[in-house]
Point group: C3
Chain length 159, copies 3
């Protein structure tokens, strides 16, 4: 669900760095929880003299561009907390190494998305819980689309 | 209008594969219909050890990231049908070749878009119909911005 | 804030061309005004036979994909003016050189964004004004989040 594009100068990160960064960030999303395999990182080198900040060349700049698909962050408190949490997690890979950096997140439609040919199940559904556990996409039944915590008491069915 | 970015491992597709995939998908959009030249594909190789899924390296992953600009898909039925149609069309290029894959679509503003310096004409307008036929962008008159099926009967002008 | 991705054929632009284009566009944003360092350009070469328009290979195509983060363009008049202004500014780099081109802009959430670990201050705030002047991100106080033109006269505090 989150697609992280990381644009970085050539040689900024080793294969191990990339793995470490993606692991740390995946851990944060997994704590929501969402299935770990929803988190995709694609690292991309920016060619020399191909990055400009404010009209000036900057070959020391790392730009994170993230798509959130599976979840919309609700409300200003959680949104600020999330941005600050990410900044803390990425700090060892940017700030602590002397890079300039910027991160922005877009929120794209949940219902225009599929994985391995499967349309992901609803949030907090039985099927999603199973996907979290199995850590891979698989077919699911209509019954599995129901919430894990299904409540059908009188008067609250229309919540 | 749709911009398809296809991130794939080096060597996944020949030039002919890329043409075939873009032709098939273009055919689906053309059936809407929208002008064929609205459909743009950019294929991009992911460098070795630069793709991570769930924090683990995956050098066998193909990620489609699509921007829809000219049309918003209306309603859940059509949205699901569209995602499933795309999955069917791309299957020979991903599933049938043993790749892992994911596709997500964003819908971006119609009115912040231009082609060859021309702001595209309204949906289903006379000008759009001409663009479909000529398969290229060109200037159009205010009269050509009217709908192909213009209805001005009493009582329905405010539809 | 604006992130400009420029997908272009190999060799389309020299380092000086890239600087010139980013400078011109940065100048337009700076006139809004927004801090110049908000404007980021990343140029990316499209490999041969990796770009298709309407299902046909097009190795002469330049695609601008822009994210607007800090500002939403208000109303149809300003939105059309903006698109036409950009087309005019980029013309020497596309039209006048015989390239085909297309530009589209997305508007992404202001509150899911940070720069150098700082969440950017509100529009037209004291802090933003200081960022414009210093042309770099830095910490700011709660008082600096207030509007530059603060009006607290009776009856208009709830604007």
């Amino acid at each position: 669900m989150p697609l992280w594009k990381v644009y970085h100068p050539a040689g900024a990160y080793t294969a191990q760095d990339k793995k470490d960064l993606s692991e740390r960030v995946t851990g944060l999303y997994a704590s929501v929880p969402i299935p770990q395999f929803y988190v995709v990182f694609i690292f991309e080198e920016i060619a020399e003299d191909s990055c400009f900040v404010g009209g000036e060349p900057n070959n020391n700049f790392i730009r994170f561009r993230v798509d959130h698909i599976a979840r919309t962050l609700p409300g200003p408190v959680i949104r600020e907390w999330w941005v600050r949490s990410l900044d803390e997690i990425i700090a060892p890979f940017v700030k602590d190494r002397g890079y300039d950096w910027e991160i922005s997140i877009d929120e794209t439609p949940f219902d225009l998305w599929s994985l391995q040919g499967e349309i992901p199940p609803p949030f907090e559904s039985v099927a999603e819980k199973r996907w979290v556990k199995e850590n891979k996409a698989s077919p699911y039944t209509p019954a599995e689309k129901l919430p894990v915590n299904l409540v059908l008491n009188p008067g609250i069915a229309d919540r």
